[in-house]
């Protein structure tokens, strides 16, 4: 890896850690339910980016970029397969992230609905007031 690559990689790792910390702070410390939910989506997106990063592949050669994991010839020769193996990106993390995004959508939608219901019942989304009301 060149120095620029190393620097960019470190920036990426640092931003992942920072994102996780900020979003966890948001979930646990912010009083408003909507802000908690926004922080939750940031947290799950951080996890998703981390998963995508696991499938990262450095550029095999300077002039050839990584390719999608699809064989474009119908009758591949041995050299086709070799170059495919050297350049194709791992597709599994992307499949995992797709699944996780869909699940995250369902959870977020459910939590937003519950927040609406909390607002209808308590006329506030501030968790401190909600637990005070309960007594």
């Amino acid at each position: 890896m060149s120095e620029v690559d190393t620097f960019m990689f470190n920036v990426f790792i640092f931003s992942m850690i920072l994102n996780t910390a900020i979003s966890l702070y948001g979930i646990f410390a912010r009083p408003t339910l909507i802000k908690k939910i926004i922080a939750l989506t940031i947290f799950s997106d951080t996890a998703n980016v981390l998963a995508i990063a696991v499938g990262y592949r450095a550029w095999p050669t300077v002039e050839r970029s990584p390719i999608p994991p699809v064989l474009t010839t119908s009758e591949p020769t041995a050299s086709d397969l070799t170059s495919f193996l050297q350049t194709a990106v791992d597709p599994l993390p992307q499949a995992l992230v797709l699944t996780a995004i869909v699940i995250g959508l369902a959870v977020t939608l459910f939590l937003v609905f519950l927040t609406l219901q909390v607002y209808r019942l308590y006329r506030t989304t501030d968790v401190r007031k909600i637990s005070r009301l309960r007594g």
Partner: protein, 532 residues
């Protein structure tokens, strides 16, 4: 045959049966139909799980690869003796809970949605239990959790229920996301998420169809295990992650409280078992990490045992009292599960086998006893005129001898009084730690039981021994009482047959948590498909 169809059939077909219900609800306007439909669906689940259990006992470990994609590539479900047993327990208690729901849910408007969520919860639990794929465990954990959040907030015009649901949902989503990050670490270092393939690499060190492992696997495994165990202990409500349970479980509709307290918490315990005794087993290359994890689990288990037992004594809400008792009992199960610490017991020593079979036995006893008590408390609350406060219940169970009998059976079961199963499982846990040379843990198990007497006596006094204020109580029809009686008979059976059950559980533990068991899990889940 290499695979068993009924393993893969159960979960997808039950999902179909569950999610077609709201559609049926548009056309069918008879509430009896939904009761019958849900009961038949869960009877079908029970029959299939029993069949799977029978096949596994007679023929050994079975797997099913979905869509014909063989193990490391596609999702596969794999059952050995332990998860077949837990699935049988889950489906049989769920069947009784569904029958009971017919009495509890009376209006047509909510019935289809209620049963959709209840069957969804059952599907999620069965998926978590049957799955042989760590990522599918995440998906099924979410299926189970979303159903559980929605069921907790089912009475959506009740402020407390909505508040408990959002508390549970928000932190539950964080927990499952942490498990997902753990999976990212597992995938990054081992290149696979299939459990049998993980065993392949971690224990046998064979490079497989998905390559070998990469990078510093010890560091990656430590992070992955810490994150996933955090998620599992959250799902099974172990101290300090128990804070949501005493809010969420009492606010749910009563049959759902029974399912959440009796069965959903088992899933986390089962996942811990699968991770620490099959995948990252004592024979694996990362076995030295297990000691730290198991020691942490032992301490957390004892702590939640004490916290649950103490908090039980100060509750004035009957369902909240039972919820804290769940925290205490799951703590005890975890204590049994952490017997694998190498300073305590090496594999195949009597202490090891006793501890694990004690944990399994206690899991079964707790599921039966706790769902019995929650369902009985539903009847008590109904008879006392919809109050959950212990001092307002006023001995209504006296007006119904059968109800009183089942409450006594449930309390004695959870308390651990000799003729009942709870005693024998606590005794197994006790003796395993004595044999392992850690008698202070045994003493603490006894202390937890002793402290929890306070809470149970308050429950018995309020429901049964107090003089009722009124002679007039509403009549309860036969359905809930039959369910209660069935559960009470099961509770008595776990105690009366304790000798043979103990022997049988020892046999199961010997077949799953041993070197042979891990070999079988790998052989039938991976090697049989690729090795030939």
């Amino acid at each position: 045959m290499v695979y068993l169809l009924s393993v893969g059939l159960l979960v997808p077909s039950l999902i179909g049966l569950a999610f077609v219900l709201p559609l049926i609800g548009i056309f069918v306007r008879n509430v009896k139909f939904f009761h019958a439909y849900a009961s038949l669906a869960s009877l079908y689940a029970l029959a299939t799980a029993a069949y799977n259990f029978h096949i596994v006992l007679s023929e050994g470990v079975k797997a099913y690869p979905f869509g014909g994609w063989w193990p490391p590539i596609g999702i596969s479900y794999e059952i050995d003796e332990v998860n077949a047993l837990i699935a049988l327990l889950t489906t049989s208690v769920m069947f009784l809970i569904t029958l009971y729901s017919a009495w509890y849910i009376k209006d047509l408007k909510s019935a289809p949605y209620y049963y959709t969520l209840l069957l969804g919860l059952e599907v999620g639990m069965l998926g978590c239990i049957y799955t042989g794929d760590a990522f599918n465990l995440f998906v099924m954990l979410e299926v189970m959790s979303i159903s559980a959040y929605a069921l907790v907030g089912f009475h959506r015009s009740k402020p407390e229920a909505v508040e408990a649901a959002i508390k549970y949902g928000l932190f539950g989503a964080v927990a499952t996301t942490l498990y997902f990050i753990g999976l990212v670490f597992v995938y990054g270092s081992f290149g696979t998420l299939n459990m049998a393939d993980l065993v392949n690499k971690v224990t046998f060190g064979i490079s497989s169809a998905s390559g070998t492992y990469y990078g510093q696997i010890h560091a990656a495994t430590a992070v992955a295990l810490a994150l996933s165990l955090w998620a599992f202990t959250f799902k099974s409500a172990v101290f300090p992650n128990h804070f949501w349970l005493p809010d969420a479980h009492p606010e749910a509709p009563t049959p759902v409280s029974a399912a959440l307290s009796g069965l959903v918490v088992n899933v986390g315990v089962y996942a811990i078992f699968r991770f620490l005794y099959t995948i990252f087993s004592p024979y694996s290359i990362v076995s030295e990490l297990r000691d730290v994890m198991l020691l942490a689990l032992l301490i957390l288990g004892l702590a939640s045992g004490f916290v649950g037992a103490f908090m039980m004594a100060v509750q004035d809400d009957i369902k909240r009292l039972l919820a804290y008792s769940t925290v205490s009992h799951i703590g005890l199960v975890l204590v049994g599960l952490s017997i694998g610490i190498s300073i305590a017991a090496h594999p195949n020593t009597p202490a090891y086998v006793n501890g694990l079979s004690g944990a399994l036995y206690h899991l079964i006893n707790h599921s039966l006893g706790k769902s019995l008590l929650f369902l009985a408390s539903g009847v008590v609350i109904f008879m006392a005129g919809n109050t959950r406060r212990l001092d307002e219940i006023g001995g209504v169970a006296r007006r119904n001898p059968l109800l009183g009998f089942t409450i006594i059976v449930g309390v004695l079961q959870l308390l651990g009084v000799p003729p009942f199963g709870g005693f024998f499982s606590k005794y197994l846990l006790y003796s395993s730690y004595v044999e392992a040379g850690m008698p202070y843990v045994s003493v603490m198990i006894n202390a937890i039981s002793a402290i929890s007497i306070l809470g149970y006596v308050r429950l018995l006094y309020a429901a049964l021994f107090k003089t009722p204020r009124t002679r007039e109580v509403p009549k309860v029809n036969l359905t809930p009482l039959t369910v209660l009686l069935a559960l009470a008979i099961l509770c008595i059976a776990t105690g009366v047959l304790s000798g043979s059950i103990t022997e049988w559980l020892r046999w199961i533990v010997g077949r799953t948590a041993s070197e042979q068991g891990i070999f079988n899990y790998w052989f039938y889940g991976y090697y049989l498909f690729w090795g030939r």
